[in-house]
Each structure stands twice: as C-alpha cells, then as structure tokens.
C-alpha cells in the first residue's frame, strides 16, 4: 500500500509522465503536469488509477478503476490502484447509497476518454497519420500492425491540450464492464496482509 503523498512524490520525481483529467489539480502536490488526479501514466508504462471512494467490502477498488482502465484502453490486471484520501479535488467522495459506480460513472469515463484521446493524438503526430484511424487498447495505441505503448507516448501526450468534450467509446468496446471481475485485494485479505486502519502519513 502506498500513501497519496508518497505516490505523488514518486511521480514528481519521475517527472516524465502524463497526469490528466478535466480540471487542474494543485500543482504543488504533484510537481508535474497534473490537471486531474485520477489517471497517471509514467514513461515506464505504469498506469496508476485513483479509486476515490472508500472500500468496505462492496468491491469498489475492484470495479471503479476497471471502468477507467476499460475506457482508457489499459489492461486492468496491470493497473496500479491508488487509494484516494479525502481531498476536495476528487469532488464528491461520499461512499453510500449504492452509488459509487452510478455516481462517478460518466465523469470517470470522460476523464479516461480524455486521456485516451491525448495518447492517440500524440501517436498520430508521431506517425503523421489521422487520429481517426488509430485505436487504443492493451496499454498501447495501434495503427494496424504497429503500436506505440502508453509509456512511450506519455511525455508527448502530456504536452497536448486536454480535450474539453472527449468522445466516449461505444459500449461494445468496453470489454471488462459488466463482467465478473477479480477481487483485487483478495490475495492480501487471505494472507493477513490487508491493512484495516488509516496508515500513518509519511
């Protein structure tokens, strides 16, 4: 488990990454281009996704990040899930009323779609082809047989403007939503490693 502060500090140190969304986060926290805290892609290819709702057995850490990964085109099995502490920049974090999927559903898809469009735009620029013929899946942007990984595109994508009205994927392109998903914390829960208390701030 990693604290938000340690996570953002690490991203800041790496500095060659893409962090984005629909509104600007406090620059002081991240130290890099970080308009939104939900998605962070490093040039090492690691896709980190923040779960900004509380886990209490309903499986939100196993589902909400998968929604973002699916819209983005990232492999949920490789995604690094970061627990979002209470922070106004995540917006509403109420975890109640069976609403933690329904509430953020559209916003999370928009955040991910914006990221995907920027990665595609970066690839289109690199290849000199129209963005419309490219697709993003399996942690890469594809043009027929050639591909550029999200990691390879992170720096270039971070220099592009964030689209204000990103286009969502057609529903049939969402390959994980609606499927039975693995319980992401289960390996820790069955070995006694799962933490059940607030972690000290480091």
């Amino acid at each position: 488990v990693i604290t938000r502060r340690a996570f953002l500090g690490g991203v800041g140190a790496a500095s060659a990454g893409l962090a984005l969304g629909l509104h600007r986060a406090r620059a002081a926290d991240a130290g890099v281009f970080a308009p939104n805290p939900f998605i962070q892609i490093g040039s090492d290819g690691v896709v980190a996704i923040v779960c900004h709702r509380s886990e209490m057995g309903q499986g939100i850490r196993s589902s909400l990040p998968v929604l973002i990964a699916d819209e983005l085109g990232a492999d949920p099995a490789k995604v690094k899930i970061v627990q979002g502490d209470g922070d106004a920049r995540y917006g509403d974090q109420d975890t109640d009323g069976s609403s933690s999927i329904r509430g953020p559903y559209d916003h999370m898809r928009e955040v991910a779609a914006a990221a995907r469009e920027m990665l595609i735009a970066a690839a289109a620029k690199k290849w000199g082809v129209p963005a419309s013929r490219l697709s993003a899946h399996d942690d890469a942007v594809h043009d027929g047989k050639r591909a550029l990984s999200f990691g390879e595109l992170a720096v270039a994508a971070s220099k592009l403007p964030v689209p204000k009205q990103p286009k969502l994927r057609p529903a049939k392109e969402l390959v994980h939503v609606g499927k039975d998903l693995p319980v992401i914390d289960a390996p820790d829960q069955v070995t006694g490693k799962a933490a059940y208390a607030a972690l000290p701030v480091t």
Partner: protein, 159 residues
C-alpha cells in the same frame, strides 16, 4: 511452566519460529500475536470467542486466540494466517482468491484457519460438515455461500 501473576517467560513457536516472551501469562494469545510479535493478520472481533475472527491453530487445533491465555501456548506450536503457507498458496487461499470470497475480508483469516483445521481432520467434507465446522465464524458481509464453495474446491486440490 509459569504459574500466573506478574511477568514470566513464555516459550512459544509461532509459524515455525521460536519466541521467548516476557509477559503476563494471562495475556490473551491474540494480544501477544498482534502487539508483541506484530502479526496483525489475526483479527480482534468480539473478544469473547463469539465470532471466530481471531482463530489460530494451537498444535494444529483451531482455537480462539482472544480467550486463550498466553500460558496455554507455552511450549506449543501456534500457526496464524501468516504461517498457513509460505507463499500464500495454501489450497484454501488459492480457492478463496479464485472464487472471490472476501468482501471486506476482516473475518476471512479466521474463516480460513477454521477451514484449514477442518480439512486436516476431514479431507473431503460435506456441506453439512462445512456448515457445522464454520458455524462459529461469523461474516457480516455474508460470504458463507462462497466460503462453502471454496472449501469444496480446496478439498479437491490436495495440498
């Protein structure tokens, strides 16, 4: 063997490691595991042996660590969830992950330790055997149906 009162030295083997603990012999074994040895996988639930969250093995037998005085573990072997398998790959742990048993997960260490003692004594339990054996392990998330399925799956895979 200590005879109670004040601090004494208790010798216990936990997950294959021997420890000499200077402690009150009446200290609950659960306290010793969590606070003295830092093994926090075993959970405090009710403190009165009513919920099973604190289940560990004492010489292979499932006991409630919250009501087991430390002196009862003197010169005996304790196994906790951390020591059930070296790599978290006991058939029960694998089945639990494969079938997505845990929800909040707080009771699951106790569930698994009770189930492990059951399988050691009865390698091919029926539904009724499982229900009877695990009746003292409560789960407020209500994972009982998947627990039963996972015990059956683990029983099919011999450790």
């Amino acid at each position: 063997m200590p005879d109670g009162g004040g601090q004494v030295t208790i010798s216990i083997e936990v997950n294959g490691q021997r420890h000499e603990l200077d402690a009150d012999p009446q200290m609950p074994l659960l306290w010793a595991l969590r606070d003295l040895l830092g093994l926090t996988g075993t959970k405090y639930g009710c403190g009165e042996a009513l919920c099973g969250a604190c289940t560990v093995h004492l010489d292979g037998i499932a006991v409630r660590a919250c009501v087991t005085p430390l002196e009862r573990a003197h010169n005996r072997r304790v196994t906790t969830i951390e020591g059930l398998s070296a790599a978290g790959d006991h058939p029960l742990q694998k089945a639990w992950v494969e079938l997505g048993v845990p929800q909040c997960g707080y009771c699951q260490a106790g569930q698994i330790m009770t189930a492990a003692a059951l399988l050691a004594a009865n390698p091919n339990p029926s539904d009724a055997d499982i229900d009877r054996s695990l009746a003292g392990n409560l789960c407020r998330c209500g994972t009982y149906v998947r627990i039963r399925a996972a015990v059956h799956r683990a029983a099919k895979e011999k450790p």
